[in-house]
């Protein structure tokens, strides 16, 4: 059996495993714990330099209320949804189609097209910032939700296509051939055979892209300026305050902003279950 269960290894190994694992866990989670604890600290703690100690009192309720009262965070979260959901639908939907085409059809430039999708991922988007900004201005899409969505879809589809193409390629090709012999049209093959079998891939990709786009700060600051468009990552800036940085509010806002991707993960989790193609072919 691999990996070998820890219960079967030497006692000293078992002991060190039991000691090291919690330590590693805490070190790993330290930033997250720090943010969570700071978000329930009263501002006096921070003023007094009590950054990592025990909070003097629980100020969670007032901090979180303040976040919603002192800023437009509710509005920014809505903006984030307006950007993220269409992007996820657009990128995953498009890549289902591109992935199907690249995995199923043999045409001369198949690999070239596929490599172009893949190669696009290697272009660091920092060097694209200025041309993309100019392009959006010229197209009249600067500082609009539509602009953000379009560019996110364009940037994410490359990776999604890579993912989907490889997933479809791994499905038994006989399923498609069998349907072809039965006279089922290509679109119906995609719709009724391939798409249902892609559910785990769609769920995984949806969570991934949701998280990518939700957490995006770079394009949010480059392509959005007004409060009407700004997603939550950029909007949080507003809490910085004029004279001092209100860390207890920023951390509370961060926690709020981080909740939707976590929720998304748990929502989609049951669709990840593998083994959907079990029983398709030989047993």
């Amino acid at each position: 059996m691999f990996p070998r269960p820890i219960q079967k290894s030497a006692p000293w190994l078992q002991a060190s495993y039991k000691v090291l694992l919690p330590i590693a866990l805490i070190v790993w989670l330290l930033p997250l714990i720090g943010i969570a604890v700071t978000s329930i600290r009263p501002s006096s703690d921070l003023a007094a330099g009590n950054y990592f100690g025990w909070p003097t009192r629980f100020a969670g309720v007032e901090n979180y209320t303040a976040v919603f009262q002192n800023s437009n965070i509710g509005w920014y979260i809505l903006n984030s949804f307006k950007v993220t959901i269409p992007t996820v639908i657009g990128a995953v939907g498009l890549s289902c189609l591109t992935g199907f085409a690249l995995a199923v059809y043999k045409f001369r430039l198949n690999l070239v097209v596929f490599f172009m999708f893949v190669a696009g991922n290697f272009v660091p988007f920092q060097i694209l910032a200025i041309p993309v900004r100019n392009l959006t201005v010229q197209l009249g899409l600067y500082d609009t939700i539509t602009g953000l969505v379009l560019f996110h879809v364009a940037f994410q589809t490359g990776f999604c296509t890579l993912f989907m193409r490889n997933f479809i390629k791994a499905l038994p090709f006989a399923l498609i051939e069998s349907a072809r012999v039965e006279g089922v049209s290509e679109w119906k093959i995609f719709r009724h055979i391939v798409l249902p079998l892609m559910r785990p891939a769609i769920a995984a990709l949806a969570v991934l892209i949701f998280t990518f786009v939700w957490n995006d700060y770079f394009w949010a600051t480059i392509m959005a300026q007004s409060a009407d468009v700004r997603p939550v990552t950029a909007g949080m800036n507003e809490l910085k305050g004029q004279w001092k940085v209100a860390w207890e509010l920023i951390t509370a806002a961060s926690i709020v902003a981080a909740l939707p991707p976590v929720a998304m993960f748990f929502l989609m989790q049951k669709h990840f279950i593998a083994g959907l193609t079990l029983g398709a072919t030989k047993g």
Binding site: P172, E177, E182, K282
Partner: protein, 363 residues
């Protein structure tokens, strides 16, 4: 119902020629088996008939109609895949009716066909299950059911039994045979298992390296193999082949001197050889009798199967010979064995492997 005609069919993948010119006529309602070793092109040929592979050159007609530019679905064929290719997210019922539903057939039209196919294949109680809840044999039957409901003119089977265990394979073999009898459709069946070919076929097509070696009924191939390849491929255990030289022995007879010095005189049956011509003598293990005067060999291995005993022995020159004896025969390993051989059952092949004399016992 339709006959299938292949004329000078070739297939290349890039520079590699897979099928090198196949001419074949399969009659309406015939059960035709393509058999051959891996990579001989038998599956490719089947897929070309199905329309899943393009035909590089040559012509294919089903029911007298040219098929080169016809879509797979319009050819009137149904195919059963080796891997079954069941749609895992659909129930048995949906799997069987999928093709009909997707091609605009009305539910009222589909239902009786589905019922009939399910009854024929004893699937009625399984209609609401998913493929993952079925055994291998049941999955195979669903795959066949999917082909039946389309009421095709030609059924194509691509090694359908190779994923089943031995007992189930025998059972499905007879079921497919029965199905052929009931439906009366033309069936083309690909297998590498010569037992399947022998038991099921009306006509066997032996393929090797992209060309047809021989076409004929099972017994024709067994008794009158056209060349060494077919002789070795058809029949289990394999035919023994012993190299030697042949000379005319007068009165139309031919004397063969084997490598170990033993001499066999065969009835030439009209065939002639030049003196000292190098030949290969072929004789099936079941036509050799241990304990009679003839060849002398040393026993290397004995397999006692109960119903029969197989001896694997070596002649004086070291060439291997297999002998099939009745189940009570015994011989110690290392002991010497006299092997009687029936001259009438001997096949003779020339240096190119083509048959000169058929050891056809049915003559």
């Amino acid at each position: 119902m339709a006959e299938v005609t292949l004329r000078a069919i070739t297939k290349s993948f890039g520079d590699v020629k897979i099928i090198k010119g196949v001419d074949l006529q399969i009659a309406d309602g015939e059960f035709c088996v393509f058999v051959g070793p891996s990579g001989c092109g038998k599956s490719t040929l089947l897929r070309m008939i199905a329309g899943l592979e393009d035909i590089t050159s040559g012509s294919l007609a089903i029911g007298g109609k040219e098929m080169a530019d016809v879509e797979p679905s319009d050819r009137g064929v149904a195919m059963v895949f080796q891997s079954y290719a069941l749609y895992p997210h659909m129930t048995v019922k949906d799997n069987i009716s999928f093709g009909l539903r997707m091609t605009g057939h009305k539910p009222a039209e589909i239902e009786p066909k589905l019922r009939r196919a399910a009854e024929m294949l004893q699937l009625t109680h399984l209609l609401d299950r998913k493929p993952s809840q079925l055994s291998g044999g049941q999955r195979q039957r669903v795959a066949i059911g999917r082909a039946i409901v389309r009421e095709p003119q030609v059924f194509l089977f691509d090694e359908p039994l190779s994923n089943l265990d031995a007992a189930l394979r025998v059972q499905m073999r007879t079921e497919i045979g029965k199905l052929h009898h009931d439906l009366g459709a033309t069936m083309i069946y690909v297998t590498h298992d010569q037992v399947e070919a022998m038991t099921m076929a009306d006509k066997i097509v032996v393929l090797n390296g992209g060309v047809i070696e021989q076409v004929g009924s099972p017994l024709e191939l067994y008794h009158r193999p056209r060349n060494l390849f077919v002789a070795g491929f058809i029949g289990s255990p394999k035919m023994n082949v012993i190299p030697g030289t042949a000379s005319p022995a007068g009165e139309g007879r031919i004397e063969v001197t084997l490598k170990d010095g033993a001499k066999v005189t065969l009835d030439g049956g009209g065939a002639t050889v030049s003196s000292g011509q190098s030949v290969t003598l072929g004789i099936r293990p079941e036509h050799l009798t241990p304990g009679r005067v003839g060849l002398k060999a040393t026993v290397r291995l004995a397999e006692y199967l109960g119903s029969e005993t197989m001896f694997y022995a070596a002649l004086a020159d070291g060439s291997e010979i297999a002998v099939k004896a009745d189940g009570l025969a015994k011989a110690a390993i290392g002991s010497s064995l006299d092997i009687g051989l029936n001259p009438a059952a001997c096949h003779l092949f020339d240096a190119n492997g083509m048959a000169i004399i058929h050891g056809d016992l049915t003559r």
